[in-house]
Amino acid sequence: MKKILTIATKEFQGYFYNPIGYVFLGIMMMLACWVFWGDVFVAGNADIKPLLQTIGYLYSIFVPAITMGWIADEKRNGTWEVLTTNPVNIRMILWGKMLAGMGFLLVSLLLSLPSLLSILYLGKMDLGVVFSGYLGLFLLGSTYLAIGLWISSLTKHPAVAFIGTTIFLVLNSLMSQEIILSKIPYFMVRVFEQLSLGDKMSTFYNGELGLNAVVYLVSVVVLFTWLAQKANEKTI
């Protein structure tokens, strides 16, 4: 665990040496404020759901930008060789990177909190919805990180990892869209709904902490991190 934390700390600090980290956080905060306050002032509606949905959609573009270099860049630069010949195993490296990514997601979520706190100060908001919504988003972002980690493990080219992860996540988002579901056979609708990560979010956005959804999303994180481990062990 100590080595996982060492790797996680180094990776987390690395985001702030990199312009992508600041661009990610800046745009995330700007869009979150824009969507949220637009809804409050224009529609007179202090609903948190559009804010959470927007952040969820943004994750499918920004998370691949975080994960694209995780393994691909290390392999391309040769630092992977140095790292893996140190007394650490692949599992430690991958969970270190995952923890760092989760920490970065938390920072991105914390940046949207001032808007929410302002509303809480000015009026009323269902705190249960806020909590479950944020937890859901954190879990959704973590599944995206694990998928990105796996795809980054399959290539030496960060750009390929970025495009691959984005396509994967966009296709997965489409699986829960009515326009797609209405055009496929019924038995496929059930399959698509089960596989869609976004579909699990409705429970969180409605203020419910569904154990099924939590277990599902955590399982996806574990599954894709394990797949990444296998992919990396295979190449050595």
Partner: protein
């Protein structure tokens, strides 16, 4: 004592290493010489656990080791070819990070010790990306020395350095060899003759010469003869 026995490695149908055997008994510099593509880097990568081998074994003091085990990796310090580093980190940060990854009890003291040993104190707080190639090489060497490994594996450590930097790195390697076993790969014959006490010439994946440097009369001639 390190014993390498019958190591073979294939990439697809191509045999890169074929029954490679050698021993290193004491603290010294062993040079791995050979033309490009002879299998030097592959052999080093197998010894570090980065690559697996099709067959063969490695023994530490007559005890069989799992090359992928953390215990084996702790005994090895490795400087790969091209010396990959995290340029955005400061020298101190990188050495401390490596010390933590290598389980050093006091990571601050360990990184400082290595910085002194490799002449990095002047640039300790500098970012790696701002350093000259010679200093970067010292940082890579310093990271390899963290944890005081028994065996140091250096893959072409002087490539791309200017003459002054080459002399400095050679002196440093000679100094280190008083305390540990060093395996160094190069295809520069005068360098091998200047640093190494023993030479292994590898050609087409096979060890074709294993001899004390002082006993080799005309290295250039011998090398061409054995590798052509």
């Amino acid at each position: 004592m390190l014993q390498v026995k019958n190591i073979s490695k294939k990439f697809g149908n191509k045999t890169v290493l074929n029954d490679v055997c050698f021993e290193i008994k004491s603290k010294s510099v062993t040079g791995l010489l050979g033309p490009n593509g002879a299998g030097k880097t592959t052999l080093m990568r197998i010894l570090t656990g980065y690559f697996g081998a099709e067959s063969g074994s490695v023994m530490w003091d007559k005890e069989l080791v799992n090359l992928k085990s953390l215990a084996h990796k702790k005994k090895i310090g490795y400087l790969p070819e091209n010396n990959p580093l995290y340029g955005y980190m400061k020298v101190r940060e990188y050495l401390e990070y490596t010390a933590k990854v290598k389980d050093s009890a006091d990571f601050e003291a360990e990184s400082y010790r290595v910085a002194v040993e490799c002449g990095l104190i002047d640039v300790f707080e500098n970012k790696i990306e701002t350093l000259s190639k010679g200093y970067k090489q010292r940082v890579g060497l310093g990271a390899a020395l963290i944890g005081n490994p028994l065996l140091l594996i250096l893959d072409e450590p002087t490539t791309g350095l200017d003459p002054k930097q080459i002399i400095e790195i050679r002196q440093l390697i000679k100094k280190l060899a008083k305390e540990k076993m060093v395996i160094l790969s190069t295809h520069i014959l005068p360098e091998a003759a200047a640093i190494c006490s023993r030479l292994l010439i590898i050609s087409q994946g096979k060890i074709v010469l294993d001899e004390t440097t002082s006993k080799i009369k005309n290295l250039e001639k011998k090398f061409i003869q054995l590798t052509s």
